[in-house]
Amino acid sequence: MPPNPLIMASRCQREIPPELVDRIIDFLHDQPKALTACSLVARSWTVTSRYHQFSMVALITPRCWGKFNRLIETSPTMLRFVRSVIVDVADTYSPWMSVCASFPSLQHITMNGVVSPPWREEAAAISSVAHNITSFTINLTVVRAHYVWPIIRMFPNLVTLGYVGARCVVTVVPLQLSLPCHSPPISTMSITNTTLGGVSDALLNPPYPLTSLSTLDIRDVYPERRASLQALAQAYGGQISRLRLHLRGHRQQCTPLGGFKPLLSC
């Protein structure tokens, strides 16, 4: 009688050490289709596959939101795998903080769109995960300067701050926000400018001294931003030990820090 292939597969799978399975799946970390296939192989493979598959989600269009909502209805456990999220804040009243708060393992936030002052309820909601956030990127954003630092200072353990192609709009209305106010130990700052405008003085002149800042990543340095970069260099030049310079003018696609692509996007 020929052996049952299902029984053989099950036996073979039991004989593979789980750490070896993890190692194999780790190699597929940036291949969504392969990860989907792996997650269906066996229950023991599902967690490791999903760990990579849902490591980053991009919620940047209504279609994305719809797809995401359907997904968490059928599989709410995937929320714990999300470590990085890209949110589009095109709508002034977008509840992005509440959404971020639903990811218990969230570490990186990339924000697109218009930065608006957070609602107090939202600020309270995100406080449950705020201490996990280590990286925050403002991407292709119209920034109202005085909104930026109050949001950044909500994350007490933030170490990496990215500023990609943002344009600063300074309004004259003073802002009074009742938000948690920390002095996060930012050690890495990445400044990438596209053709949108100058580097914001609000970001280059933070409300508290960035004594931990040691790494600077400067991309696409255009002459009109020289004054701002000169000011940054004068302020922090003595403590920067790692500098990464990109030759100016290379029109590359703006991506979050590290240039990684989301695995779950529309």
Binding site: R219, V221, P223, R226, L229, Q230, L232, A233, Q234, G237, G238, Q239, I240, S241, R242, L243, R244, L245, H246, L247, R248, G249, H250, Q252
Partner: protein, 141 residues
């Protein structure tokens, strides 16, 4: 058209140890022309290093190569001269050359094409012996 310029703000970084030049276009060609005819493609790197005020221990250049043929056009000798003559680079413990492959005309694999060429070209440069690492980053085919 010359767009090579000196990042004068670099002189303010007095505590610098790790320096990376990213996305270098070393080949003056087409719309991505970055250096004038007859000018060393390392001129920008050279001017930046000249402005340095602190000894560098880790030096990385990331070279953007669009076609395998561009590897032969890179002025590797200029890089060797650059590394061996500058005072601020005397304390180097590591030099990294990273190739950033980009798909053009059907694509190519920088791992299998660029690395062997770069190692063959760079290894004879004695000033970098023992310090040099060559690696590639690029799209998967």
């Amino acid at each position: 058209m010359t767009v090579v310029d000196t990042p004068d703000y670099i002189s303010h970084f007095t505590n610098l140890r790790h320096l990376t030049f990213a996305n270098l276009f070393l080949i003056p060609r087409g719309r991505y022309k970055r250096v004038a005819e007859g000018e060393s493609p390392f001129a920008w790197v050279n001017s930046a290093i000249a402005a340095l005020r602190s000894p560098i221990t880790h030096f990385t250049i990331e070279v953007l190569i669009r076609q395998p043929a561009q590897l032969d056009a890179v002025d590797w000798k200029a890089l060797d001269v650059l590394l061996s003559t500058r005072e601020v680079l005397r304390s180097l413990v590591r030099v990294s050359v990273v190739f950033l492959g980009r798909l053009e005309g059907g694509g190519w694999d920088p791992k299998s094409i660029a690395e062997p060429v770069a190692v063959r070209r760079l290894m004879p440069l004695t000033s970098m012996m023992g310090l040099l690492t060559v690696s590639t980053r690029g799209p998967k085919l």
